[in-house]
């Protein structure tokens, strides 16, 4: 089975902090993705990566950056956390042209 592991299930941070969310997959997938999920807004794509050191902006990249130094790991960085970034963050991975597999999410609260 595909395993996508997000480092934290719950995280509480303060405004202005730099926040790192980590995601690791164990199936040698080329593609990795970060989404946020908010009530009434569904899942929205923040960034994705189709190869090591490659990244592309999604629909809502403002206030975020990403890092993919190794194929199995994709990090989401909140440069200076703000309260409107309180959300559920979901990481996913896939082979090219195949369904994405998701982790169980990190519920992030910014106080």
């Amino acid at each position: 089975d595909v395993k996508v592991t997000q480092s934290s299930r719950y995280l509480v941070k303060r405004t202005g902090e730099k926040v790192f969310l980590e995601c690791v997959q164990d199936m040698d997938h080329e593609n990795m993705f970060w989404y946020r999920q908010d009530p009434g807004l569904g899942l929205r794509l923040i960034y994705f990566s189709y190869d090591v050191k490659m990244k592309e902006k999604g629909d809502i990249p403002e206030g975020y950056s990403v890092s993919r130094e190794k194929k199995e790991r994709f990090s989401l960085i909140l440069e200076s956390a703000s309260t409107n970034q309180t959300s559920m963050y979901l990481c996913a991975s896939s082979l090219i042209g195949q369904p994405q597999h998701f982790g169980d999410g990190t519920r992030l609260s910014i106080l």
Binding site: Y35, G42, L45
Partner: protein, 109 residues
């Protein structure tokens, strides 16, 4: 803009009945769709997918139908069980996934 959406926010069925969850999309060029199930506190879980060269695809207790003429797809769950209670999303897969808003399926005993 282009979108993927679901018809009903909530669907309530009796245990043992068949469930049908509907989804509409707007981009006629869309060629790959995926259904996901999301249980409380978990990430979306892949159920079944379908490409535009097919009208129907079956899995275990699930069937997806794709009508390209009216840009509509549906997920049918046979003999619905309490464990099927969850939010169901259809998603269009292009460079990444574009999700619909989700239908919450409630299974009544």
């Amino acid at each position: 803009g282009e979108s993927v959406g679901l018809h009903l926010p909530t669907l309530s069925v009796q245990e043992g009945d068949n469930s049908i969850i509907n989804c509409a999309y707007s981009n006629s060029a869309s060629d790959y769709f995926i259904w996901y199930k999301q249980e409380s506190g978990k990430g979306p879980q892949f159920i079944i997918d379908i490409r535009s060269n097919m009208d129907k695809r079956q899995g275990q207790r699930v069937t997806v139908l794709l009508n390209k003429t009216v840009k509509h797809l549906s997920l049918q769950i046979a003999a619905t069980q309490p464990g099927d209670s969850a939010v169901y999303f259809c998603a269009e897969n292009r460079r990444a996934l574009t999700f619909g808003s989700g239908t919450r399926l409630q299974v009544q005993p």
